[in-house]
Symmetry: C2
Subunit: 436 residues, 2 copies
């Protein structure tokens, strides 16, 4: 720690000398120019020097982020609110949980039987790193689209699929583009591997549609991945096919990886087409059993991609954790053919109940095309920190909007993972928090 | 990939220009001197320039390793042999598995009941990132030594505990020291985070004792961690207390992290003292339910360290995978008080059976103090690749010694995770492979 802090200080000193603010694009360009000249002077290849600079910027940014995260109270995320709510509950207070994305449905009944058979069948050994062949085949078959079992890797939750995709295809100094508001995991994984995340911001006013021109302008020689997440957490947006098509084309033109997190695809209420169907070979599709089958705690997710890409992800998985727990893989196998329709219908009905109430409360939002959340806007003068904390005091936990992107502090995320009577009670408390 | 290859080429060109071979310490020193002078010329702090160079070396090494791993047939590891054996079995051939470290015992009976209750008890949700409090408390209590639940993190297998410890405390350009022969996971995790692994080699002739003077000389300003693994995989060695004491002192003097992988501690047949008891605050102890309780496929391991260090590891775990599967945590909780004595006695007996046979076969080895393996030396003129492949043809899989360190190609690792009659049959086949 001591030595790392020294280094951090050194980088700080250098940055002061050179007035570096790595988050400022103009300054970054100036430095690039300076280093380019320097590299000519000392006879080092320009591109190589640029690469070196990327690594330096990334290291500096990572150290800054580390410092920030250790100091800050981490108000920002839905998880922080969840933890705070849990602490309140430990003191005897009742809290309605509308902050976390964990469906309250039961997993398919078939899972119960599978669990009770694990011991006698001896399904508790190391498996192939990428998962038992039966489960990979079953997933491939369910996905269809000519996917083979060798294009599937089973991961401990979709989150690890995201992690290993980012760790496989990005390295220090690379850039990733996220369309915000976004689940913070993408950026966290990017920071972990030393890459930089650039945000393409979308707005409620424009129906959460990404601006393709802006996206194109953000792409540079360091850009390695675009992350998509539709149906979206937190907005419930599903891209129309025209826009999706343009994004895939852009990725193709620049040979950029496309990471499509489709964990909410079982909760698509309107027309939804997987990015898989656009047929771009550098696509990684991510999904899981957590949402559609209400199996969050089993930690079974998966990724679909070209075999060579899956090979790379398997290498990361093998390095980090050998394989997914075999009993959990058999539980997932028992669930793979269960229909998520009943859950989806129930979730949709709940979203409608919340929508009606939000209209009464005059909180603007875009009607969700899918997912488990609503992302309404607070009136001018209010911010998420104030409302979320007030609401928690009153007994309802909702997620701060800024957890999904710095500039969304006028939003909150409401999760529909509760019975409607509790949801309505929670919204009454939210109204009080807003009024007070 | 294309761009990364370009960069790799550029680094190659620069290296050629400067005649860099980053694995050659003499050359590395020359470059350091050169860069030190350069930094004076262009007015950059020496230490900072040195740090930059570390990052550059690490990046270059990582790219080289990547290239190597993609090209090479990966003969080297026990896992590669396991995969090859599985392929042979798929064609109908019988193979005796003496290559993998997976006990063939059944998990404790209590685990069966726990699994059958998971569904009805609703134990299938997200848990705290560091694990359910009951399991952390139970582990803390079992460990004793005044450890609290806040000093425990439950991980998906000991392997992820190793991964997250290395990812938490090492970064690009840092150095880690491994005492070889060693489980390859340590080095793989180090390479993943961009750190360099230096090997302290031990020999059969010196009873696998590390040379403390050599260890001291290997420590430099970049050294951040020493990895210990006793009872050892693959040698079965347990350090005597005097040597362990000296290593802990060295780590203390240089404020270096001490990672002690003690997953085989249930299989210690002689005097064994956990590194935890030496009371050095930068120690991380790693263990799991996999070996002692024969629960490999449940993927439940844990780490013990100071609370602040556990906090850092929890951040890595949260980023990578949210939490360990809740049903698996309850299975581990059901096993935590089960005694591993019967398993240990059985394993020890098997090791004795193999030892007697190896003596008959005139293969020298050191009698194991613990663990599940024997690591005998082949006679001059033989190497592991030849013997291992020949043995596999004949129907027995053993692990190549060089998988545990480049210079151990005259060794093989024999795992005792089978019934004695199979072990003896396997050794007969091994004898044939050696003779042919």
């Amino acid at each position: 720690m001591q030595r790392r802090n020294e280094i951090s200080k050194q980088i700080g000193l250098i940055k002061n000398k050179l007035r570096i603010n790595v988050k400022d694009d103009k300054v970054e360009q100036d430095i690039r120019l300076f280093v380019s000249k320097l590299s000519t002077e000392i006879g080092i290849d320009h591109e190589f020097a640029g690469r070196l600079l990327n690594i330096l910027f990334a290291e500096s940014l990572r150290l800054q982020e580390n410092d920030k995260k250790q100091d800050a109270p981490q108000f920002g995320t839905h998880l922080a609110i969840f933890m705070k709510a849990k602490q309140l509950e430990a003191t005897g207070k009742k809290v309605i949980h509308m902050e976390v994305g964990e469906p309250d449905f039961r997993p398919p009944k078939t899972v119960k039987k599978a669990l009770s058979r694990v011991y006698d069948l001896g399904h508790y050994r190391y498996t192939e790193t990428r998962g038992i062949p039966e489960l990979r085949s079953a997933i491939a078959q369910k996905i269809g689209n000519h996917i083979g079992a060798n294009q599937v890797i089973v991961t401990p939750g979709a989150r690890f699929a995201v992690f290993s995709a980012i760790a496989s295809f990005l390295t220090t100094g690379d850039e990733m583009i996220c369309i915000e508001p976004a689940w913070p995991a993408y950026r966290e994984c990017g920071t972990f591997v030393g890459s930089t995340t650039k945000s393409l911001r979308t707005t409620l006013e424009e129906g959460w549609n990404p601006d393709i021109k802006n996206l194109e302008q953000m792409i540079n020689s360091n850009t390695r991945m675009i992350v998509l997440n539709y149906p979206n957490n937190p907005t419930g947006k599903v891209l129309n096919r025209n826009i999706a098509n343009k994004i895939v084309s852009l990725a193709k033109d620049h040979a950029i990886y496309l990471l499509s997190d489709e964990v909410y695809s079982d909760y698509a209420y309107n027309d939804f087409k997987s990015i898989l169907e656009y047929g771009y070979e550098k696509t990684i599709i991510i999904s899981s059993f957590s949402k559609g089958h209400a199996m969050t705690g089993f930690r079974v997710g998966y990724a679909i991609a070209e075999e060579q890409m899956i090979d790379k992800m398997a290498k990361v998985q093998g390095t980090a954790l050998t394989s997914v727990a075999e009993p959990m893989q058999y539980a997932a196998l028992a669930a793979v053919d269960a229909s998520p329709t009943v859950n989806a219908r129930s979730m949709n009905r709940r979203l409608e109940v919340i929508s009606n109430k939000l209209r009464e409360m005059s909180l603007p939002f875009k009607s969700p095309d899918g997912g488990m959340y609503l992302y309404p806007k607070l009136r001018d003068g209010l911010n998420d920190a104030r409302v979320v904390n007030k609401a928690l005091d009153l007994g309802v936990a909702v997620a701060p909007g800024s957890g999904f992107g710095e500039c969304y502090s006028q939003f909150i995320r409401i999760s529909a993972c509760q019975h409607t009577d509790l949801l309505l009670k929670g919204l009454d408390l939210l109204q009080k928090a807003i009024d007070s």
